[in-house]
Amino acid sequence: MPSIPVTVLTGFLGAGKTTLLNRVLSENHGRRFAVIVNEFGEIGIDNELIVSSDEEIHLMNNGCVCCSVRGDLIRVLGGLARRLGAFDGVLLETTGLADPAAIIQTFAMDEDTGEAFALDSVTTVVDAVHFPRHVAENRQALEQAVYADLVVLNKTDLVDADELAGIEATIRRLNDTAEIVRAVRCDVPIDKLLDRKAFDIGRLLFGHPALAGQAHEHDHGIASVSLAIDAPLDPEKLGEFLSGLLRERGQDIYRCKGIMAVAGTTQRFIFQGVHMYLETAWGAPFKPDEARTSRAVFIGRGLDRQALEKGLAACAAKEGNA
């Protein structure tokens, strides 16, 4: 049975999440959606199957303070799965302050949820008028942008070009692979929103490290560290380094991802993680004439670039093993 795609719509209060939701629902796409909202807001939602669910963060008992799942999502998605063939996709509208990490981890850590459903996209709606203030006042506004694979920069008709460029630069500084789409009243083409498969480890994206990096005073210490290394790595050392790093610093590392060249195989070693949760896979082999460069990105709070660089360099395979 193919898993049912789930699209997460996040963003601050008033950014336009419900507007975007209604836009998807009203479009003539021939799909039937189940909609999950935190509460029925002022704007009505025109859909047959709609469930309200109170956000319930459940900590996992594995000694890890950042390993949390959304208990309410496990319940609601588990219940919806019983309506066989009643819908083709799920749209989940979060609260303004929701932490997307717990949602992403729910799909990764609860096997029942991960088996029946697939996280297709975390789409963050950003209010162009209020984003600078939201960012200055709340870390969550930045965090929501960090976890997004699609950012809908909304209300672009109400601010000037320089301000828009500044907002985009802030987002790119922390998340250089998110697609940013400018919108007025969330007029985003629907094919941009659906079938993104953004959390499929086989479709991991890398952006332009030159755009990322530099910390900024309003970033609450959140930064993106992009690393490249040319020597092939020892897969065992790399595994130990990553698990050790996430065990100790996982709380502050929002996301990590990498496509690595390892000794002894031409296949790419791929990893992606959210806090302490790490997923790995083997990817397509490097072509014979291709440079075997490893690339990794860590996004988090108070990251030590030099320590990450050193740690990764120490994973280099011994000469002759490559």
């Binding site: 049975m1 469930v51 109170d54 996992m60 008992n61 208990g71 219940g79 799965a81 309506r83």
Partner: protein, 340 residues
């Protein structure tokens, strides 16, 4: 959509119900097998006549089921609690629009029936069927259970299990510690012990006399099902690609407890388990659809039948142990007379 005899195995009737089988139960007299379905209906199989009735009981999906002498109690994502007689006639007991009724429980005598509605437990008096909502618990109810004698009711929730003994309107409940997210619950047949599966791939067992709980761990997956043996000395659990039985009698030192593991099945996890009500036997439904009969004394399991499903969701024995029923996520269901 109706049950029909299997050409190969005598005593077996099967049906394709075309809807997710959320739960199954037999009436206390063993005469009717009920299957609560994802399309909101309740499929009723009359064991004597072989006839199937399909009662429309919920507008959305039926999520839970409990059998009582008064009939079958179901809850749905339409916010309704409904009581349906074996002939298919149903009565709405309560309606909570916008909420889901996810769990139901009843004792053998049906003196009290119970469902959960978000963070609250709702009791129904066995005679008047009047609902009374108990004070809200700290978090949404993840599981509900009653021992056969109906003298207690347990509700699992985040960070604990609340036990109402006896369950009656206004009961404050007794909180048992249990850090983390608590889900499926089961009582031992004598009501002396209680087990609760957690989100963290573990099971916590409580002795109600001592109010103490201990943790059983080491599972590769979340435990979706629990069942105590008739003597109450073994707890059968899912969460493994085999039958897992823990010795839970007081004589065994908790630190030295070792599970009896047998009947390894490499193609799927045990997702539904039901201990036989009289004999030392246990039925288990594995992911993939195979139902095995485990014989702990021989540490062996024999395949009974295969359901056309990805998962076996539920299994239940009749009170006399003569019939085993079950259903899965793809809509396949069965009723097996083990005496042939």
């Amino acid at each position: 959509m109706s049950f029909s005899p299997d050409p190969q195995l005598p005593g077996l009737v099967t049906a394709s119900l075309d809807a997710y089988v959320s739960a199954c139960a037999l009436s206390p007299d063993g005469g009717t097998a009920a299957f609560a379905l994802g399309d909101g209906t309740l499929a009723l199989f009359d064991v004597a006549s072989g006839g199937t009735t399909r009662a429309p009981v919920h507008a959305g999906a039926a999520l839970c089921l409990a059998a009582a002498p008064q009939g079958f109690l179901t809850g749905g994502d339409d916010g309704k609690a409904v009581l349906t007689r074996p002939d298919g006639e149903s009565l709405e007991l309560a309606s909570f629009p916008g909420q889901w009724i996810e769990h139901a429980a009843a004792g053998r005598d049906g003196a009290v029936l119970a469902v959960s509605r978000g963070k609250a437990v709702v009791l129904f008096d066995g005679e008047s069927l009047t609902p009374s909502v108990l004070p809200e618990l700290p978090a949404t109810v993840g599981g509900l259970a009653m021992p056969p004698d109906g003298r207690a009711l347990a509700a699992a929730h985040y960070d604990g299990v609340t036990v109402y003994a006896p369950p009656r309107p206004g009961a404050p409940g007794n909180a048992f510690d249990g850090p983390g997210a608590n889900l499926t619950l089961a009582f031992s047949p004598d009501g002396g012990k209680m087990a609760c599966a957690t989100q963290d791939k573990s099971v916590r067992v409580y002795d109600l006399e001592q109010a103490a709980g201990y943790l059983l761990e080491g599972y590769p997956a979340k435990v979706r099902c629990l069942s105590f043996s008739q003597d109450g000395n073994t707890l059968w659990t899912g969460g493994e690609q085999a039958f897992v039985g823990w010795p839970v009698n007081a004589a065994v030192d908790p630190a030295a407890r070792e599970a009896l593991v047998f009947g390894a099945f490499e193609h799927g996890l045990l997702g539904a388990v039901a201990a036989h009500p009289a004999l030392p036997l246990v039925a288990g439904g594995f992911d993939g659809g195979v139902v095995f009969l485990g014989m702990p004394e021989r540490k062996a399991a024999a395949p009974l039948l295969v359901l056309e499903n990805r998962r076996v969701v539920c299994l239940a024995w009749s009170a006399d142990g003569r019939r085993l029923i079950g259903g899965g996520d793809g809509g396949a269901a069965f009723c097996l007379d083990v005496t042939g």
